[in-house]
């Protein structure tokens, strides 16, 4: 009897762990070759991680307006996406979280002229109970306050560096995270007392994180450019998707999530 039980007990955690490993790496699967020709069209959009919620919604709207066309997304760090595009990943549209990452792609003559479609401002994010009682940017310079920032190589980190420089502050973070979502996670779990993230991330956190506005954020506004790619397999449909993002409807969805109109 004991034998039977233990056999099941062995199988369960293993099965669980296998299940978990299955969902570990879904985020960055490269877009497959879009099926060209015929009526069934596919638009492949590479977009910054901070656009996950809004672009998914716009993708559904696009599919509803263009029956037979599907929109596939590859969300990730803008810099990683730009590298994937330079390495030849097939895509139709690229929406980046900074002009610098877009420039990597336009410099390689892979995309048409980019258009700024939204801007995102930084906020100080603190855990809901704000244990270190942070309420302005200079509180982050206190050595007692544990701060997480994005690494300077990624757009949110570059913006944070600009804001801190504008304020004349020297902040020593405990960690430089790879992307803004990872930075936000450290705040959500209460591992750090404060972090600099985008206003949209604070809104997306559903009250688990409190956002504090600060005046120096105006010096570090991030422009989000969007462009169709030169070799867009979807052709016209790619342009139509960009038009949707730039339309009134697109702007409403984006501003509701905390983005600002350019």
């Amino acid at each position: 009897m004991v034998f039977r039980l233990s056999r099941w007990a062995v199988a369960l955690p293993v099965a669980l762990a296998l299940g978990l490993s299955g969902c570990g790496s879904g985020a960055t699967s490269p877009a497959s070759e879009a099926a060209s020709g015929g009526d069934a069209k596919e638009v492949t959009v590479f977009a910054a991680a901070s656009l996950t919620g809004t672009f998914t919604e716009l993708g559904k709207a696009f599919e509803a307006a263009h029956p037979g066309t599907t929109v596939r997304f590859n969300f990730g760090s803008s810099a990683t996406l730009a590298q994937q595009l330079v390495q030849g990943a097939p895509a139709d549209v690229f929406a980046a979280a900074s002009p610098a990452t877009m420039k990597t792609v336009t410099d390689a003559a892979l995309a048409g002229a980019p258009v700024t479609f939204v801007r995102n401002k930084l906020r100080i994010a603190v855990p809901a109970d704000n244990p270190a009682q942070v309420d302005e940017l200079k509180d982050l310079a206190d050595p007692e306050v544990k701060v997480a920032l994005c690494a300077e190589q990624v757009p949110c980190g570059a913006a944070a560096a600009r804001a801190l420089a504008a304020a004349g502050l020297k902040v020593t973070p405990v960690t430089l995270e790879q992307d803004v979502k990872a930075t936000l996670t450290k705040v959500r779990l209460g591992e750090v007392d404060a972090a600099l993230v985008y206003a949209t991330d604070v809104i997306a956190s559903d009250g688990k994180v409190t956002g504090i506005e600060f005046p120096e954020a105006d010096q570090a506004i991030n422009d989000y450019p969007i462009a169709t790619l030169a070799k867009a397999p979807a052709g016209e449909a790619a342009r139509q998707f960009v038009d949707l993002v730039l339309s009134r409807q697109g702007r409403d969805v984006l501003t509701e999530a905390g983005f600002e109109a350019p």
Binding site: S21, S77, A79, V174, G190
Partner: protein, 277 residues
């Protein structure tokens, strides 16, 4: 204790080769397997920015990350040895209810994506974690964002390699030597120390080498649990990932350094310690 690797038996007379033609059914997939494993390495070598290599290597951040990687992987291996060898002994030599379950649990970090492992560590050892909360309140110790945190993350991911290797060696070892020692009056601790451990030493060394290599390459659990800050938690794999964001060439250089160091160390250890039968 001194002669750890079992010496090869040399049979008198000319060794008899297995005659006949090479079995292509084995050789072809073997060569394909080798090419598959080595080709990505060749890719790194071909695309490496050789003209600027030295200049890039001399950057202080590279040496800092390399030093941190070597130190933390080595300390993590020591931690794994201190905890993992007794654990392997327990699994191989002591009958207790639920042993099969425990054995399965030991391998969980192998199948768990390291990032999930890092989140699990945060939930237990983080500042607001189950144990971490108490650690901070009682001793003022916080593990995340420290080098100790890197070691914890690496040991968590790498320990199963050591345990499985040592347990396999223990199961394969001839128990009659242990029984003989016990009949001659040796205590269980003495038997372990003077008979069992020397017998399974090749397995322990092989396990430690695997464990060290895994710890050296650890990425997901480290970046999740320990964060990413130069000098304290940014190990080589983290530096490679960050460099990949903006400067793929720098990432290639860093990867080459990590590869070169690990290949040199592993190859020299293998010749010295791990007997290939």
């Amino acid at each position: 204790m001194s002669s750890s690797a079992p010496e090869r038996l040399d049979l008198p007379g000319p060794r008899r080769e297995v005659s006949g033609r090479l079995p292509w059914m084995l050789v072809l997939p073997a060569v394909a397997g080798l090419v598959f494993l080595v080709l990505p390495l060749a890719g790194l070598l071909i695309r490496a920015p050789w003209p600027t290599l030295l200049e890039r290597l001399a950057e202080p951040q590279v040496l800092e990350a390399l030093r941190l990687s070597l130190v933390s992987a080595t300390v993590a291996t020591v931690v794994c040895l201190l905890l993992g060898v007794p654990l392997a002994w327990l699994l191989a030599r002591v009958e207790f209810p639920g042993r099969r379950l425990v054995r399965a649990l030991v391998t969980v970090p192998l199948v768990l994506p390291p990032v999930v492992g890092g989140v699990a560590l945060l939930l237990v050892l983080g500042r607001r974690g189950l144990v971490g909360q108490w650690l901070e309140a009682s001793f003022g110790i916080t593990l995340p964002f420290t080098t100790a945190g890197v070691i914890v993350a690496e040991a968590f991911v790498a320990m199963p390699f050591l345990v499985i290797s040592v347990e396999g060696a223990l199961r394969g070892a001839d128990r009659r030597f242990e029984e003989a020692a016990a009949t001659l009056g040796a205590s269980r601790w003495t038997v372990f120390r003077r008979v069992t451990l020397p017998m399974v030493m090749p397995g322990v060394v092989a396990g430690a080498v695997l464990c060290w290599a895994r710890a050296l390459g650890e990425f997901g659990a480290t970046i999740t649990f320990a964060g990413n800050f130069p000098g304290t938690t940014r190990t080589m794999p983290l530096a490679v990932y960050l460099a990949l964001e903006t400067e793929p060439e720098a990432a290639i250089v860093l990867s080459l350094v990590l590869l070169a160091v690990s290949v040199v160390i592993l190859a020299s250890l293998r010749d010295r310690w791990v007997s290939a039968p």
